[in-house]
């Protein structure tokens, strides 16, 4: 199959080829999602080198375990980003890294804007704006707990210690914050 033909396939169709060890199909999947994957890893990890390591581990895992992708459980993009997230958390906890300045800066996402040079990029740019807005509208303590948990890789127990709050309080903030975020995104029509 030519590169142009592959590029016209949906992610799910490409994953069927990846499952059969087609490196050209994998290259298209990488091309589509490496930016989002690296951006997430960069946000979570303390150094660009560590972000590259996490991204590399995640994509090689996608290549080697493509068979595990189940389209009923979400998009390829969400699946890839979920793997990046797990790998980043593993790396942070393994390294006992405690210097994670990016995780404590919920506004870091605003520092760079996406180039909206294609229709797809424009849609993603809109989605990014919607998600940031929804996060901004959360009560500060809920948004802070979510950012520390998801981007900082901290457990609810660690967050409770950091913020000198009972663990139950932090669990509650995470739960209420996520539920509000979910409802807000649903009302805006965002479905990753």
């Amino acid at each position: 199959m030519t590169g142009a033909t592959l590029a016209s396939l949906a992610d799910e169709e490409l994953m069927q080829l990846v499952r059969r060890a087609d490196p050209d199909a994998f290259a298209v999947v990488y091309e589509r999602h490496s930016g989002a994957a690296y951006s997430l890893a960069y946000r979570m990890m303390p150094t660009p080198g560590a972000a590259e390591d996490v991204t590399q581990e995640a994509f090689l895992s996608v290549w080697r375990s493509g068979a595990r992708y189940d389209r009923r459980r979400g998009s390829v993009r969400s699946w890839v980003l979920g793997i990046v997230h797990h790998r980043a958390i593993d790396a942070l906890r393994r390294g006992k890294v405690r210097d994670r300045p990016r995780a404590e800066d919920p506004n870091a996402a605003e520092q760079l804007e996406a180039p909206a040079n294609t229709a797809l990029e424009a849609v993603r740019h809109d989605e990014a704006t919607t998600v940031r807005k929804a996060m901004d509208e959360l009560p500060t303590d809920q948004a802070q707990a979510i950012v520390l948990a998801y981007f900082g890789g901290f457990t609810h127990t660690e967050i409770a210690e950091m913020l000198e709050a009972p663990v139950g309080t932090i669990k509650g903030r995470l739960r209420l914050g996520l539920a509000k975020l979910r409802d807000q995104l649903a009302s805006e029509g965002v479905s990753p």
Binding site: L40, G74, L178
Partner: protein, 239 residues
């Protein structure tokens, strides 16, 4: 429908969805999750919000050299897998009359190409440690494409867990083999077929953890003294 213990775990769903549940609690929570429809429903609900979070991150293109490194690994492995693919695909589909040739084979007769394919699979993931158990990835061949399997190895127990595992060919069952370093594969009494939904949970001898290879092949009912078909699943507990 909520399961016993729901009140204990209900407020852990969001932490779990965010990856913020302490590692020591994850296994117990997942056991509860498996039994609790209410928690599964909430997890599904909240996961939509979690999946949206990466979209809020400042975009940053991946360095070109990173893509070059990844694609170099991928193309190298693809070459190995393609060399192995036809053999791995063909063998389990042999007509029954050809099967006798395999049953007479006195020794472990895995085509080199299949071994290569499995070797690539082994690179799939480093060992993962969860609680007191080691989790070892299991390599699969084309014959059971789509299967996801792993070994769970504890001090005094070993379990093979699989999902999306197709049923063995008609008139066969799966048998687990333990191959020690420098030795031939030894039969075990671990004979099984996957459940209707493709899942399987198989108790293995604890010494599986010390083996060079743990393998699964399709065998006649009652099992074989030596493997008669190439393995469809294989794991290296010691690597």
């Amino acid at each position: 429908v909520s399961a016993p213990g729901h009140d204990t775990w209900a407020d852990a769903v969001a932490s779990y969805a965010l990856g913020a549940l302490p590692e020591a609690e994850v296994i117990a929570f997942e056991q509860h999750l498996a039994a609790c429809g209410a928690c599964r429903a909430e997890l599904e609900h909240l996961s939509v919000a979690v999946a949206a979070l990466p979209a809020s991150v400042a975009p940053r293109p991946a360095p070109p050299a990173l893509g070059d490194r990844i694609m170099a690994d991928v193309r190298r492995e693809a070459e190995l897998l393609h060399a192995a693919g036809p053999a791995a695909d063909r063998l389990p589909r042999r007509p029954a009359r050809q099967h006798r040739r395999w049953t007479r084979a006195p020794r472990w007769a895995v085509p080199a190409a299949v071994t290569a394919a499995l070797a690539v699979g082994f690179a799939a993931g480093a060992l993962v440690r969860t609680g007191d158990e080691r989790v070892v990835p299991v390599a699969t061949t084309e014959a059971v494409r789509g299967t996801h399997a792993r070994l769970l190895l504890g001090d005094d127990h070993a379990t093979l867990v699989a999902d999306h595992l197709p049923a063995p060919p008609a008139g066969r069952i799966y048998q687990v083999w333990l191959k020690p370093r420098d030795g031939e594969p030894e039969p075990t009494s671990a004979l099984f077929v996957p459940r209707a939904d493709g899942t399987a949970t198989v108790a293995l001898p604890a010494r599986a953890a010390d083996m060079e290879l743990v393998m699964v092949s399709a065998e006649p009912p009652g099992g074989s003294a030596a493997p008669t078909t190439p393995p469809v699943l294989s794991a290296r507990p010691r690597s």
